[in-house]
Symmetry: D2
């Protein structure tokens, strides 16, 4: 069988990460790269062998599958165009930066026969895959305490610009909302408080979530803090058991009534594996080859946008948001 021809639209950091993973996958040919800044495209071309396209349209035309790795607010339009062209799409998160756009992408994806995968990489990261397995097979979680902070919204410069990110929660925190759905199921209700400090948008959130399963959780996410490791941590409380993650580095399970704990350290893995980038790209290619649905679907992408949207509404109205 011929190799799958892949194009990458958006030659920034995350585009480069996917390019490196795909360059090592013998089932694909990294055919084309496009970026509005030609210099960036040239640079990725040099280190990956992909040819620089003159436009997104040209790239879509010549490829079988397209990675959309542009800044957030550009995802929706490209995702719809590519999907409507019948091509397979790997769309970085967030799929959209408002609910109406998310619905449009979802509609387009559902109307297509091609694969549509959203880049919620955490599901593939070994810490979270292991956590999911533990709470599925060994322990029923009853509550969770979740932190996802950034140190700053300064580097790179655009992460502090809501015109580009769609808002802080769309840039970073959305990962945790998808993660919580993955681990705990659908959200039933949400209350939130937020405040504005350093950046021209609400940049600090405290959130209380209730899930349909009865599990409840607290989440904090501040954009104005510091890089105190771990930036991202999930603590899950189960019967006589606590399970905690330390970013993508380790998962610690403490069971029983004494102080015994088991730590699985992922220290030896490459960053691509620790963060699940390798696994999500392999899964995407698998889905294409097996004509199977994506593991992270457009519906998943929609749902995570829905939670972000609810958070912003809860902060501005002071109301408890109920989910259908």
């Amino acid at each position: 069988m011929d190799k799958i021809k892949i194009g990458i639209i958006g030659a920034g950091y995350i585009g480069g990460v996917h390019a490196q993973v795909l360059a090592r996958d013998e089932r694909v040919h990294l055919s084309a790269v496009y970026d509005v800044m030609d210099e960036r495209a040239q640079c990725l071309s040099r280190s990956s062998g992909a040819i620089v396209s003159r436009s997104a349209e040209e790239l879509i035309e010549k490829c079988d599958a397209v990675y959309i790795t542009t800044p957030n607010t550009k995802h929706t339009e490209l995702a719809i165009t590519t999907t409507k062209a019948g091509k397979h799409v790997f769309c970085e998160k967030p799929m959209a930066t408002n609910l109406a756009d998310a619905q449009k992408v979802l509609d387009a994806a559902e109307a297509s026969n091609a694969v549509f995968q959203v880049g919620h990489n955490r599901r593939f990261a070994p810490v979270y895959a292991t956590l999911k397995q533990m709470i599925s097979e060994e322990a029923t979680p009853h509550s969770a305490h979740v932190k996802m902070n950034r140190g700053e919204l300064i580097n790179p410069e655009w992460v502090g610009d809501p015109q580009i990110t769609g808002g802080f929660l769309y840039e970073t925190t959305i990962h945790m909302f998808d993660m919580m759905r993955f681990l705990f199921g659908e959200v039933a209700q949400l209350t939130a408080l937020g405040s504005t400090h350093e950046y021209p948008e609400t940049d600090d959130f405290s959130v209380l979530l209730g899930f349909k399963s009865g599990l409840h959780a607290t989440l904090c996410s501040s954009a104005d803090a510091s890089w105190l490791f771990p930036f991202e941590r999930v603590e899950v409380f189960c019967h006589h058991r606590t399970i905690a993650t330390r970013e993508m580095e380790a998962i610690i399970s403490s069971e029983g009534m004494e102080g015994k704990q088991v730590t699985i350290s992922l220290h030896q893995l490459s960053k691509e594996e620790k963060w699940g980038y390798l696994q999500e790209d392999v899964a995407f290619i698998d889905s294409i080859l097996n004509k199977a649905p994506a593991i992270v679907t457009a519906l998943d992408g929609y749902k995570s946008v829905e939670i972000v949207d609810a958070c912003y509404r809860a902060v501005s109205t002071g109301e408890r948001i109920q989910f259908r």
Copy 2:
């Protein structure tokens, strides 16, 4: 001057801790001990030199100051009796296990000229005293993420009995409510979700708090988890700064936009100092000698009961509780 004659009512673990601290303070004489279980009183008498009283009344009569270190639901009555007898009172937390009782204790304390101190030891623990100093002098906090778990409510047996503790939040979590008032000021509003798992009461809480200062916070507190250290942790987010505590053992401050952090480890201190027991007892004796108000007043005790009470109401009604 004569030594202050001190009596201890309740010869359990925490009574023994105070006895050890007081035995080393030359300003006091540990005169009497009483416990409903005579054997326990005898044991504390042996290791402290205090004489066993035949009743609480006898003990109150013969002492200048009384430590009330019985189980929670016995605090109110003893606190009121002792205060009305004109004696100085060190009342372990919680001062009461419902709002009406808390009001009665507050009224009695305010009507007395003697010192009335509530055993919210965290304020004296070096981790929290240092944290308070940092956020007062160097950094303005904008949000906090707080965890206070127990591993179980099995050892000792009575901690799982709400008839004795007044409810899980009164036993353990109340410390964090007082601590948050100490650090962040008065609570303005509170929403909470709770659930019941292993024990005959709501034993798992997720709480969202708004403070009058504008600071917002999330708190989790589960009785059914495991002893994964730290059981108690406060993370405070400030401008380009994160400050975190690890139980009573260490405080970590990470400042700036790089990964630099300063850790103050309290590892070398004795448990009595790390947990603030030594300092709160010294402060109590200081207040008596200086005829000064207690550092942790009956009003503080009332306020922490008020937050616990609001938490229980928020869980049962689903409403957002507003504080005056």
Copy 3:
């Protein structure tokens, strides 16, 4: 049966620790305490109920068993006197501060029918007891990397005075030599380098040890460093397995070729239990009641002095010391 009458000679920190443990043991009566500084004896008397003796001789006379908890260089004479008086002896480490004296104590102890126990508490500390069990039952160790530092020799003042301690290695590091014998068996050879920096004696040591079992080990012990936790750490390398201790707080075992590790945290124990003081005192009383030999004998005490002595010789001569 009558309670065992116990006396304590030396009312400093460690005397107080044993007094607290013994006060809770119903099999004994804490009868007497003596210290060359009367004030210190009075203070321990107040918090333990023991009567102050006017001399060591008076104390030895009236007790069945004596704890020798004076500064190091006073141990030998008191240990010999008490043993020759036919009394049970708990002698704090080091039993002596030179080899000749150690031999005299050993001879006296072996000539007596009473129990003679040396205060090498580490053997009873759960971290080391667990480590011993692991390498006995599950894993054969082939090498070890051991650290035991002090932050300073300033507090208390006398720890920096070799006239009182017998030398830095006798004060602190001797614990690790006994521990290594406990874990790895007899030492076969030893090479060492040392240097002098802050204190009027060799205050920094690097040691290479070969054991009769074939195991080899490195040890460092500096008196001029800082209180960077853990001060004391043993790392043992076995087939596809590493076991590490963190002071008396935790033991971590990592097995297999992945990053999995099991941590047993002793965080919940009291200091007396974590450090093995409770257990060594119980064992001493057990030995007296059961007319059984001590678990840590005068011969063990001698052997640890022998290793310290070899270390000092190795540093001063530059030679490899062979043990018989």
Copy 4:
């Protein structure tokens, strides 16, 4: 100026790491790659754009500078050939796997006008660069305790084959010997014990080192252990100060007589920066462009081989090795 044409001989893991770094350096053109296994060369070619050469000779001929990233025992011959061809050489460590070969490489490098750099990357890693700065500017070290373990010699398969690695110490531990020279100066004497367990060579070492400066150090390095993080750790003892590294992840400095410590976490850096690969490649290109000597010279490469050789001799003869 024309770009420097660079070739890579040896397309394994470390060759790929350098290729990625060099692909992003605009001053160079990654021209050629060669590997005895053509498939590996093709794979690196795909992800880097370099052309596959048919032989090492062809590659050397067409390039200005050559990276020698083959297995250890192939370094010497290629290093000499390339140097004699007048080309700049970046030779991965170890430069040779015996002293005679190291001398030959040193002679060839010293006879050449081109740059010759040895791949002792640790010197460029921020943890060690920071440690070096601290002990140069702020604190005089008096001893060190060093650990460098591998979990196993199984993955990849060849690391357990001394025919390929030259021996375990040449593969991994040699980094620490170079590091110690970098930090502490020249070695004066060395004693070592070793043993053989899982692999067909001495696979576990305990080493005692004396430096010309008077500093002394202990080092352990076991091939048969487990992946207990940190695998690599340096602890340096200075006056009232301890400085410790945690692999390439963090450096902790604890100063003074209290428990205060400052941690610089490198968590946010890419692996290429954390491990110093990026910086050593930049430095190599800098040296070429500035006609400046390499920062890590052939003499440094020789000296680290000399320490490894001394270690093996010390273990087999039982003698203390004196360095000139």
